[in-house]
């Protein structure tokens, strides 16, 4: 997928001005996030913390030995009768899939949900090579029909109202009898059922890949994952290289974390483990199994001790649902595959910091993402690291304008001296007088300051500073003598 991460401010403004998108986003906290809290509430806090720590430890260990575990995974996939393909970037990965499709005369592909395939822009490439490619996750299907990209990692079409979906189905699939949500779902079921039965190839993502057994694991609720990996004669699974876990028994940890964090479920309807193609004695299943393992910028995260933790992510989207910025600007503003707090970390590394320098700033650093993350990924810390890199980068790539830099330098001077601070306060009080009403400045006319008040009020500087209030009204104990002025060596 071509990044348009440079357009963050414009796309964010569009989302903010769209009432439909705002209404959908408002539902995330009451929907997904409350479900998450409820599901976690069912087990003891100690158990939950234990799972999180255990998962972190597994990820840390696995990434530290990633080369060994990938080799083990590949060996076992082959032992199971499957093929393994390594791809350094999206182009290589798509070329591989295309080659498998061509070699086998594939005409119709059914796809399960896969964020990695979004990185690869796989649908577009297959379609333009004349291979019909159909998304089968309901949300993905909707956005495919609409020609859009996913708005959310778990619920890709969450920004669309049922009326929009109905209009879309009407346009693309023909007459609809009814436009309520169950009927729309049934329409999709009937259309896609035919595709499942006719498809030559199923493409799935991978939630976890078990090195020890050469198994790929797919977590779904709809059952489209099971359909696409069971019915067509070829199954191609695409995964980011960080998805590997060492042992079968590690799944107990991750499969307890993911459904709870993602959708507030103790288990999803389906958890499907695929270990190679059908064996001779099996009743059904694909004749070929291919695993495509993709780097596509992950190596840069791996090599970066400050950012490696971002590879622990299991794509549950809990951090999106809680983020005050994502819940306003939505998924499309981030301009690439991964939105929200985790997107603000991985996108700049994967597409290049100069192209995505706005993203690390799309955060209030409130820390809610880190708190909800099942892997306890320290997203705010990494955002600060990236901000630092933007600020220290070549001048052309710096975020701040010259006047912002100047402003902060002045601010630094003033803050360092009590007298300067008091003087600045007096000046500011005088200057704000014509603008302040009822404790707020509602509108400034002078750019660039006017940009601040376009969408929000600026609290006016109060008549009395905290310092004054403290000294005159609140202090009950004698003033503390600064260390530098205390007599030395007396030991009190």
């Amino acid at each position: 997928m071509q990044p348009h991460t440079q357009q963050f401010p414009k796309l964010a403004a569009q989302a903010l001005a769209n009432p439909q998108v705002q209404a959908a986003l408002a539902g995330l906290k009451t929907g997904f996030d409350q479900a998450r809290q409820h599901a976690i509430g069912e087990i003891t806090p100690e158990d939950w913390e234990h799972l999180r720590d255990r998962a972190r430890e597994i990820k840390r260990h696995t990434l530290e030995h990633l080369d060994s575990y990938l080799a083990l995974l590949a060996e076992n996939v082959r032992r199971n009768g499957g093929s393994v393909h390594f791809a350094k970037d999206a182009q290589e990965a798509t070329a591989t899939v295309l080659e498998i499709a061509h070699r086998n005369g594939v005409k119709l592909v059914v796809k399960g949900k896969s964020m990695v395939s979004e990185e690869m822009a796989l649908n577009r490439v297959l379609e333009s090579a004349g291979v019909e490619t159909v998304e089968t996750d309901l949300g993905e299907y909707i956005i495919q029909l609409a020609g859009e990209t996913p708005f959310h990692i778990v619920a890709p079409a969450i920004h669309k109202s049922k009326e929009e979906v109905a209009a879309l189905f009407q346009r693309k699939l023909g007459a609809l009898e009814r436009a309520d949500i169950p009927s729309l779902t049934r329409t999709a079921r009937e259309t896609l059922r035919q595709k499942f039965l006719q498809a030559d190839m199923g493409i799935s993502g991978v939630n976890f890949a078990v090195a020890e057994t050469g198994t790929v694991c797919i977590v779904t609720n709809e059952g489209n994952g099971r359909m696409s990996t069971s019915l067509p004669r070829i199954h191609v699974a695409v995964m980011g290289m960080e998805k590997v876990v060492p042992a079968l028994e590690d799944l107990g940890v991750f499969y307890r974390l993911l459904p709870r964090a993602a959708t507030g479920q103790r288990a999803t309807s389906y958890f499907t483990l695929v270990s190679g193609p059908r064996r001779a004695a099996d009743e059904d299943g694909p004749e070929q199994f291919h695993l495509v393992i993709l780097d596509n910028g992950r190596g840069r995260l791996l090599a970066d001790p400050d950012l490696r933790e971002a590879l622990y992510c299991i794509r549950c989207a809990a951090c999106l649902n809680i983020c005050p910025v994502y819940r306003k600007v939505g998924g499309h503003a981030y301009g690439w595959v991964y939105p929200g707090p985790i997107g603000a970390v991985v996108t700049p590394v994967m597409v290049g910091l100069p192209k995505a320098r706005d993203l690390p700033f799309a955060s209030t650093l409130c820390g809610a993402c880190r708190d909800v993350c099942p892997l306890k990924i320290d997203i705010p810390r990494m955002l600060l690291t990236l901000r630092h890199r933007v600020a220290e980068g070549p001048p052309a790539q710096r975020k701040a304008s010259w006047y912002e830099g100047l402003g902060f330098r002045l601010w630094g001077r003033v803050m360092a001296s009590e007298q300067a601070m008091a003087r600045a306060r007096r000046v500011a009080l005088f200057v704000q007088r014509p603008f302040a009403r009822g404790g707020h400045i509602r509108r400034l006319h002078l750019p660039p300051l006017s940009r601040w008040t376009r969408k929000r009020d600026l609290p006016a500087l109060p008549e009395r500073s905290f310092h004054e209030i403290w000294e005159k009204d609140l202090r009950t104990s004698p003033p503390v003598v600064p260390l530098s002025q205390r007599a030395r060596g007396t030991g009190e």
Partner: protein
Amino acid sequence: MKQEEFLKRVRDALGRPEGAPPPDYLPLKLRREDQRQRAVTIEARAEAKRAQLIARLADVAALQGWKVYRAPSAQEAVGYILALAIEKGARSVVRSAHPVFLRLPLDAALRGHGVRVSVDAASSGASREQLRVTVAQADLGVTGVDYAVAETGSVVLAARPGVSRRAPLLPPVHVAIVEPHQVYESLDDLFALRRMALLEREGDMGSYLSLISGPSRTADIEQTLVVGVHGPVEVRMVIVET
């Protein structure tokens, strides 16, 4: 890209030399004897609290969206499935060739009521293409299971001759028949037992393992829950308590 090249890139990113010692990871080190010991312990624990586990399975499964029926006998299980077939107006039922059906005279009961019963297995003599069409058109899919997990209200089906992937997936109603000795406490038990199977079968654990924990569902439009997107609209768990 060649595997060796790719792995070298990974090693370079990690700053790891080639031929570094293999990782030291406990769950991978348990050999067959140790794993067998664990399996024995798990079996014994499950055996000791079977009644409790079955009750828990029934409760959690209901929360997960199963309709659960605890059948006091095989006869009553058959009666329940027959009544369900009649209620659904089913004309065609598919079942797997799981050994549980040797103990459950389902075919005769259904046929006695004019319902067509097909077995989705090569051993039935039908061609693969025929079987696929039959399953796709069936009103009811009835299968045995390999395990049931109380913690998550799941049934688990492993690849084995006579058990297809599609029989529990394509028909609008899936009936899973659970026997008491298949019920385990947790996901951990399940994966430990599967690892045992892996070590016993020279590293091949079969082509798939499918955990089913409720009906096919989605909330992709306006976060509104709808059941029966692609897989079964309705799932029934029949626990045969003999």
